[in-house]
């Protein structure tokens, strides 16, 4: 019973922390006050619930308790002539009645955390801290940043929100599309950091991927009519579905073509495909939706050989039209190699200004190998290896190079 309750509190914390903070930020106009009060409420829950049992509405209990704690604290401080506390109390009493449909407070909080006036690392840290309920230590570890650095980053960001008055509201209709793009970019960055850590030993940092998907689901709940929100969630689900098969039991990287498709997570694939279909019905394509569609084609193929590469090339054409970039062109070239062969694909690759990007050299190496140009392929592998910071992926590249070097040279 006791253990069950502790597990249950942990679950409630993960699910409700962001909402409780969001409600209290609106009530008191201050992030620090909100965070402290919500943490105190959960501390009280941990000491009380295991013996007293869960209240009928744990979510409501947390918010009410946190609100009461904050008011108590502010009254004590306000009586000591603390102007900040007096202002927060005043704001609470004057809280105007909302007109029209009331947006979920978490939506305001997301747009505040991802405000473009804050630096990207601050946006990421704030989103994980305030909406995800991750501790500063957890965020620091996830991003391989020293704890004091991360703590300082969060303090600075919260200070700027308070002093420069970053507004706590959903952006106006005119700003909304650009600002939503900013929010999605933060979530996708968190996902990618979890999916392929940009540096360090573990290829997959599942916690961050799981957190990004949780945020993606939250966004899809809050903005069910935004196709790109659904597209991003679908994209993350379809990539996540293959997570288990991306590395072997020894921790080595397994490329898409060699993955055991029977071990892909069918539930995630089905959920991702359903979202892609919903997006198609809306017919307002965007970059995340198209990337999700590309992943849907991959996860639709029962074997690597059965992949509909022509459709993937067409989807990359569409993606390039929506969001032209050399990286998209590189990925398109990989698909072209499957449709038209390595020679035309190599011509496309060679034209790209991506010397510093290690996947460029990986793709070149693979195409040159397939064309039997062994010496050039070895050079390209070396170029890729020297630019790759991820230990797992580097090991994979070293093995690929060594395998090639061991082959008899064909002239």
């Amino acid at each position: 019973m006791r253990l069950t309750t502790v597990v249950e509190i942990e679950r409630i914390f993960r699910a409700e922390y962001g909402r409780a903070v969001a409600v209290l930020v609106r009530a008191f106009g201050d992030i620090d006050i909100a965070e402290e009060a919500v943490q105190e409420a959960f501390t009280t829950a941990v000491s009380r619930w295991p013996s007293a049992g869960l209240p009928p509405s744990p979510q409501g209990w947390i918010i009410t308790t946190a609100r009461n704690r904050a008011v108590d604290r502010l009254r004590r401080e306000a009586s000591r002539h603390d102007r900040h506390a007096q202002a927060a109390l005043l704001q609470m009493r004057d809280e105007p009645a909302e007109e029209g449909p009331v947006p979920d407070d978490r939506l305001r909080l997301i747009f505040t955390c991802c405000h473009p006036a804050l630096g990207l690392p601050s946006r990421v840290a704030l989103t994980l801290r305030l909406l995800g309920g991750l501790t500063t230590v957890e965020i620091a570890h996830a991003f391989l940043v020293p704890e004091p650095t991360m703590a300082q980053r969060l303090v600075r960001a919260k200070g700027k929100i308070r002093d420069a008055k970053v507004p706590y509201r959903v952006p106006s209709e005119a700003d909304f599309p650009a600002r939503l793009d900013g929010v999605l970019a933060v979530v996708y960055l968190i996902f990618n950091e979890g999916h392929t850590a940009s540096s360090g030993g573990r290829l997959v940092r599942e916690d961050l991927s799981a957190e990004a998907i949780r945020l993606g689901r939250l966004l899809a709940d809050l903005m069910p009519d935004e196709p790109e929100v659904l597209g991003l969630l679908a994209l993350m689900l379809l990539v996540e579905a293959r997570r288990e098969t991306r590395t072997s039991s020894e921790g080595a990287l397994v490329p898409l073509a060699e993955q055991d498709r029977g071990r892909w997570d069918r539930a995630l694939v089905a959920e991702g495909h359903a979202l892609v279909r919903r997006c198609l019905q809306r017919n307002q394509a965007g970059p995340y939706q198209v990337q999700a569609a590309i992943n849907a084609v991959h996860t639709d193929a029962p074997t690597a050989a059965a992949t509909d590469w022509l459709q993937i090339v067409q989807l990359y054409d569409h993606l390039f039209a929506l969001a032209p970039s050399p990286v998209v062109a590189l990925n398109r070239a990989v698909a072209v190699a499957e449709v038209d062969g390595p020679q035309p694909a190599l011509a496309l690759v060679e034209a790209l200004p991506l010397q510093g990007y290690h996947p460029f050299h990986v793709t070149r190496a693979d195409l040159l190998r397939r064309l039997g140009r062994q010496a050039e392929a070895l050079d390209a592998y070396d170029a890729a290896i020297s630019r790759c910071d991820n230990t797992t992926e580097r090991a994979f590249l070293v093995r690929a190079r060594d395998d090639l070097a061991a082959e008899p040279t064909c002239h």
């Binding site: 102007r83 405000h115 006036a117 002093d163 420069a164 008055k165 970053v166 507004p167 952006p171």
Partner: protein, 116 residues
């Protein structure tokens, strides 16, 4: 309401007079719009940094140096102070100021005034 300082950062050197004419016209419009919106507090352009004097007090003695506080490639060319509800609104005016001056604008909130 919060007051924000919008600082115009300008590269050293004298801009072309014909470019300045357009800038002055745009600034005039912007200042009028700020006043109409009730957001205008103060605005002004500064003379060249070579006209500056830095005054310091060392051990009770006044020490003056000719020239700006820091020798940098860009200097404060002028500023506008506005009074608006939040950063979103301040950034909106900064956008207009950046377009009018064709220069980067730094937006910084003032500390809250202690109530008298």
């Amino acid at each position: 309401m919060t007051q924000y300082l919008l600082s115009v950062y300008q590269p050293d050197g004298t801009p072309a007079p014909e470019a300045l004419e357009q800038v002055s016209r745009d600034l005039e419009t912007l200042n009028r719009d700020l006043a109409e919106a009730g957001a205008w507090v103060f605005a002004g352009g500064l003379c060249a940094p070579s006209t500056a004097t830095v005054v310091r007090v060392r051990a009770g003695e006044v020490l003056m140096t000719d020239g700006p506080f820091a020798e940098v490639k860009e200097h404060l060319g002028g500023f506008t102070i506005i009074d608006v509800p939040d950063l979103e609104s301040a950034l909106g005016w900064a956008d207009r100021l950046a377009r009018a001056t064709t220069l980067p604008i730094e937006v910084r909130p003032f500390q809250e005034q202690p109530e008298s």
